[in-house]
């Protein structure tokens, strides 16, 4: 039987826990944000491996440039395929403290790493993002997995593996899993031979794996690099 003091303590403990849990997701994201903002600009050599249904593409090597807040470029003469909501969206979500509310959901262990699952919910219905789930490594203060559902692009799952640049929150390996809607093309447009009917394949998922190396962080990148004509 609990006495009055014990009951009061229990009530206070529960209230305290709720308060802590209510505050911690934004605090956690702020820590991630601070870490990401350490790298004001960077470039890296990237290797893109595409494994998508309906698309055959050899791996390509290229160079990636980023400059805060939203300058991003992949310098390639080859054709590269990336998820539409790829690199910049996560930075934008983490940095936006006004339009999204962060809610703690649970604690999970992913690849032996203790993570906090934080949901970001838009504050208004005009946002393209419907829901963003972020698995945050509590120790290194980096996002190791995300699942962003948007109205325009469906759901994109991303997994991050960190190595040498974990101090800046920059990954060595990113794996995107994207929705690919059914592909339908008239025979006349493709002009294939020995195929008699229009191809219709149901919705599938695909993966885009990007390996990043040779980071050059905070060495300065001219704005002209991001010029579309370059």
């Amino acid at each position: 039987m609990l006495n009055l003091k014990q009951l009061l303590f229990l009530k206070l403990f529960i209230l305290y826990s709720i308060t802590i849990l209510a505050q911690s997701p934004r605090t956690l994201l702020n820590q991630v944000q601070v870490k990401l903002n350490k790298a004001t600009n960077y470039s890296a050599d990237i290797n893109i491996i595409v494994d998508l249904p309906y698309i055959t593409l050899m791996p390509i090597n290229s160079k990636l440039y980023y400059k805060q807040k939203d300058k991003f470029k992949i310098d390639t003469k080859s054709i590269a395929i990336l998820p539409k909501q790829g690199f910049l969206q996560l930075n934008m979500l983490v940095n936006d403290t006004v339009n999204y509310t962060a809610i703690f959901q649970s604690k999970e262990i992913i690849n032996k790493i203790k993570t906090s699952l934080v949901n970001l919910i838009p504050n208004n219905d005009t946002s393209d993002v419907v829901l963003a789930k972020l698995w945050v490594d509590q120790i290194n203060q980096v996002i190791i997995k995300s699942q962003v559902t948007t109205k325009s692009s469906g759901t994109i799952k991303t997994e991050y593996i960190y190595g040498s640049q974990v101090f800046y929150g920059l990954p060595d390996d990113i794996k995107f899993t994207v929705d690919i809607k059914k592909f339908k093309i008239p025979k006349a447009l493709s002009a294939d031979i020995n195929t008699s009917k229009t191809t219709k394949v149901e919705k599938k998922f695909g993966e885009i794996n990007i390996k990043l190396k040779n980071y050059q962080i905070n060495k300065g990148i001219a704005d002209s690099v991001f010029d579309k004509t370059n």
Binding site: K77, I79, A80, I81, K84, D192, N194, S196
Partner: protein, 280 residues
Amino acid sequence: MIIKSTYNELLKIAYKPRSYIGIAGIMIIIAIILFAMKVDGSFYISLITGQFEQSLLFEGTILNGNLIAYIIIQMLIIHVPLLIAFVTGDLISGESAMGTIRLLLTKPVSRSTILLSKFFASCIYTFIVILCLAFMSFVLGKLFFGVGDLIVLKSDGLIVFQENDVSWRFFYGFAIAFLSLVTVATLALTLSCFSENSIGPIVTTMGIILLFTIIGSMDLPVFDTIRPFLFTTHMAAWRFFFDDPLNMTHILYSIAILVAYISVLLSISFYKFNKKYILS
């Protein structure tokens, strides 16, 4: 003797104004396509990538010389056979109509040699047309649109070929396109042996191509058994070189069918030309 005779036949082709219709036609059509793609190429690109753009972003120069060359060949390869038939359908019937066949056959050269020289001449003419098509599409395409990876639209998806993996595919693609055009030239030449005027073989060749193309494109099971044996089905065999991985069985089958057509048609024309009555 065959070389001299072939040279003479080439001179005859060169002196006929109709021989330049095909080449002029190709040049005009390619110039129009180059202009249209320069002005409105992004629309065509959206046809290729549009279905993926909801979730994917395409980086790099998609509209480049390699894609232009591919588009041009895809568009023109259907029409070039008609231009080839204009010239090769006239090689024997034209001489019959003008009466020069009698003079030609009084030369101390066998009829088979004469026919063979006409066949070789039509092959050389076809080669020049293909060369013209290759130059206009491949060289001018790269000149105006630059180089880059080739993105190919198939019925079951997209294939992106890296720039250094494209030239050999075009080379073999043009080679097999040449073989398919030689098939058309041989058909027109064979029909030419049966006629006393030029219009008949040319129109009949066009009619056969049209008929076979319609049968080949109709998705009816009744045609499934004959479709693989129509030469028009294999006129698009150049596209097999833009598959990944290459399907050598399909390529060799197409080559075998086209060579079989050429052999059979040439045999018929040899038989007919050697029996041809020229005294009336």
